[in-house]
């Protein structure tokens, strides 16, 4: 099993979610995060005092999938989240040792 983690622009969340539903993904977890990559931050001015805001708001999407689905999911996320501009985000895949559905106790691919 694989954990696909994607950091994307917040306004692309709906597109990514729809794309994943289209390829039959049954669930995902979303969190609001902040950080920086090549896009860096921006400046804000309050009563003439300038502040450098280093962290840019992003959305983190996490999907647990079977080994076979991982590539398809990554491709779908990348296609849906892409604008071609700097700051589009990143997607990475990690291996998961075990997964359990809390309600039934099912394990492995059955819990997905």
């Amino acid at each position: 099993m694989k954990l696909v983690t994607a950091i994307v622009k917040p306004f692309k969340l709906d597109d990514v979610k729809n794309a994943l539903e289209l390829i039959g993904i049954a669930g995902l977890t979303v969190s609001e995060v902040q950080g920086f990559g090549r896009q860096r931050g921006h400046t804000e001015v309050y009563r003439g005092a300038e502040y450098q805001v280093d962290f840019v708001p992003k959305v983190r999407i996490e999907v647990v999938v079977s080994e076979a689905d991982a590539t398809r999911v990554v491709d779908a996320v990348v296609e849906a989240a892409s604008t071609g501009q700097i700051g589009d985000g990143k997607v990475w895949v990690t291996t998961i040792d075990e997964i359990v559905r809390v309600r039934t106790g099912e394990r492995g691919d059955d819990a997905l």
């Binding site: 804000e44 001015v45 309050y46 009563r47 003439g48 005092a49 300038e50 502040y51």
Partner: protein
């Protein structure tokens, strides 16, 4: 007694009272989330305390009979408002100020005293202990505000036989308190900011406003209430009140535009904080001059106030004092400009009936305005410096560095303003109710030994 005038003065007093909670929102939104409650409590504390002091002796100290030189009135003459009570014939007041009951005037002037004291708190955000702040409020009102209100607002024969020196001898025009309220609070704010010193991390750490919607709401309430402040100062529901209402509106709009234009040109963006600040700067500047400038003059006064104050708020970084929420840049600078503007833009066609420099009146009114403005500035600054220093040396004014960094709300008030976590039943941070802090006698003691505390 005129019932129409009385209704307007009482309504105006209520409008002006709302300005202090408005100020609490305006200031509260500008500080960081960890100190918003303390910021708002400084305004509420002033509201509570000055309400009481005003009744006991404040009114008398400002509007009793002068005890010499136009400097201060007799604080015991109307002790507890003794001597002002009494009605006849179904509620007609037996004691009048102009055409309204003396008690209506007491109410109207009370809320001026309250907001002036509360204004100072913006200079010392995040770092003043609450108890010493309340001690400061009591001493400052007694030694600075009540006498200065006497100087500026007590006219011979209006409330008592003899009033204050700025109103009667100098004859500077300060219709609603450019000197007594704004220069006074601004100079005091500067002095306290110097006594308490800079916040930890000032000029290095970000100290962004945590909630600009609160700031906008507060500015809106100030804007609204200020029509009571200025137009109510006519003490009559008459043509002067109407003219003042319009000059107040015109100057405020122009000042907001001036501030926003300055920002747009200098920083590239017109900001909401700039709009809110411009509104207040315009209201401050037109406060002394609202009865003496034409509506067009008011637009000029406001526009210049917006630009000048927008530039002035940056001074603290260059000069190195932490006037946290720009009481100096907005109230002292705006108050000075507004007070001097009377000497420049006053027109004899208005109810004040005086020509300023640009209307052919020469320098006569201008020097009177300058003397009044700088007398209040110097008196307030010097006395406040001493009061603040004395409190710091005796009971201590500033909180510890650890408490300041952690947040004054939790350190001083044992509260936090916001709870945005859904963890722990909506209370966040693993909070659980352990019982009453001080149970009634006989009630079971709270269980601090058990689990889950």
């Amino acid at each position: 007694m005129n019932t129409g005038d009385t209704a307007w003065v009482l309504a105006s007093a209520a409008l002006v009272l709302l300005m202090t909670p408005g100020l609490a929102l305006f200031y509260g939104g500008m500080v960081r989330a960890k100190s918003v409650l303390n910021m708002m409590m400084m305004s509420f504390g002033a509201l509570a305390l000055i309400s009481v002091l005003w009744v006991l002796y404040g009114y008398s100290e400002a509007f009793g009979n002068d005890v010499g030189g136009g400097l201060v009135a007799n604080p015991f003459q109307f002790w507890s408002l003794h001597g002002l009570l009494g009605t006849k014939d179904g509620g007609v007041a037996t004691h009048l100020v102009a055409t309204v009951p003396a008690m209506a005037f007491v109410a109207f002037q009370a809320v001026f005293a309250i907001i002036t004291v509360a204004l100072i708190s913006g200079a010392i955000a995040d770092r003043a202990r609450f108890g010493p702040w309340m001690v400061f409020c009591a001493i400052w009102a007694t030694v600075v505000y009540f006498p200065v209100a006497h100087w500026v607002f007590a006219f011979d024969g209006a409330q008592s036989a003899h009033g204050g020196w700025i109103a009667n001898s100098l004859k500077a025009i300060d219709f609603a308190g450019g000197t007594a309220v704004h220069i006074n609070a601004g100079a005091a704010g500067l002095a306290l900011a110097l006594v308490l010193g800079k916040r930890v991390g000032f000029g290095r750490d970000p100290m962004r406003p945590h909630n600009l919607t609160l700031v906008m709401t507060g500015a809106g309430l100030l804007w609204f209430g200020w029509f009571g402040f200025n137009a109510g100062s006519a003490l009559s529901a008459n043509g002067q009140a109407a003219e003042v209402w319009v000059t107040t509106m015109a100057a405020t709009g122009a000042a907001a535009l001036g501030w926003l234009a300055t920002e747009r040109i200098r920083d590239g963006h017109a900001t909401s904080l700039g709009a809110a600040s411009g509104v207040v700067a315009g209201l401050v500047a037109i406060t002394p001059s609202c009865s003496s400038v034409t509506p067009f003059g008011a637009i000029v006064v406001g526009l210049i106030a917006g630009v000048v104050c927008a530039l002035a708020v940056g001074l603290k970084y260059r000069l190195g004092f932490d006037d946290s929420l720009d009481v100096v840049g907005v109230h002292l600078v705006g108050g000075l400009w507004g007070t001097l503007s009377v000497g420049l833009f006053a027109s004899a066609s208005t109810t004040a009936g005086v020509d300023g420099l640009f209307y052919g009146g020469g320098l006569d009114q201008l020097w009177r305005q300058a003397v009044g403005a700088f007398a209040v500035l110097i008196y307030s600054f010097v006395i406040t410096l001493f009061i603040g220093w004395a409190i710091q040396k005796t009971i201590g004014f500033r909180i510890s560095e650890e408490d300041e960094v952690t947040g004054i709300d939790s350190a001083v008030h044992a509260e936090t303003a916001y709870d945005v976590s859904s963890i722990g039943g909506g209370a966040g941070r693993g909070t659980s109710l352990v019982g009453q802090a001080h149970p009634a006698p006989g009630a079971p003691a709270r269980d601090t030994e058990g689990a889950g505390v």
